[in-house]
Symmetry: C2
Subunit: 130 residues, 2 copies
Amino acid sequence: MARSSAASDVFSAIAEPRRRQIIDLLSRKRSLAVGAIVLSLGLPQPVVSKHLGVLREVGIVSVSKQGQRRVYELNHDQLRPVYDWIKTLERHWDHQLDRIRERAERRARAAAAPEQAKSPAQATHKKGTP
Amino acid sequence: MARSSAASDVFSAIAEPRRRQIIDLLSRKRSLAVGAIVLSLGLPQPVVSKHLGVLREVGIVSVSKQGQRRVYELNHDQLRPVYDWIKTLERHWDHQLDRIRERAERRARAAAAPEQAKSPAQATHKKGTP
DNA sequence: TTGACATATTCCGTAATGGGAATATAATCC
DNA sequence: GGATTATATTCCCATTACGGAATATGTCAA
């Protein structure tokens, strides 16, 4: 019963290495025809078409006919759930963002409570809260 | 063969919604015994144990015996491949990072050349989850 | 039309998935 | 020792996944 299937769930869709490869390809080149993907990945055409089918069903890619070929492109938005989910754990990876944000917050705190500021922050008028 | 199995591939491991739930739980509470997870998710204990088994095999979680219970905790590092992969597409989402970095740099420049300080210090920018 | 090309779909076989129920292991308490 | 609690493991089953081969659909060109 409705086990999260690759055909409907983004996370399952990206579980397949070759599907991730396809996504990688499409994120670099703006758009690609099936043939180009087949060439690039070196997989049998039916295999590629089937993977594209899965990605299509989930909404990760979209097609447009162009002559006798189908041109695929990435819908980045559909991958957002993955991004949002993993981003929750971002703080654990000592990411640049953290250092920047941390510094900003330290600075903000210092500006908000200047009496316990150990480091002599030059200037900084304090500032009322909006 | 060697289809990327959930038992060996991180992406496959996190494809399962309940496994993601477990990860979410463990990322909030530092460490949890199986019983607590069972309680929290409302799933049968064997099911939880099996999911934990998968996460364990991949290395996403690790166990330690504590009395008669096994306490699990998250190994964030193992999820890094997911983070790194999805982060490639970050630019498409006009991410907060850019704004924060920009602001920080502006601020840094202002601090380096204090005589022309005139920036509106918007210290506290609490950003709730959208 | 016929034929070449580009892509999708179907059928098949094998392997893996995840849940349920029952059972096994292990630690703790009496 | 035996009983109880906590967790893992095994067996079974229905479902799904993926690749391969063959075939179907669609499009252009002459």
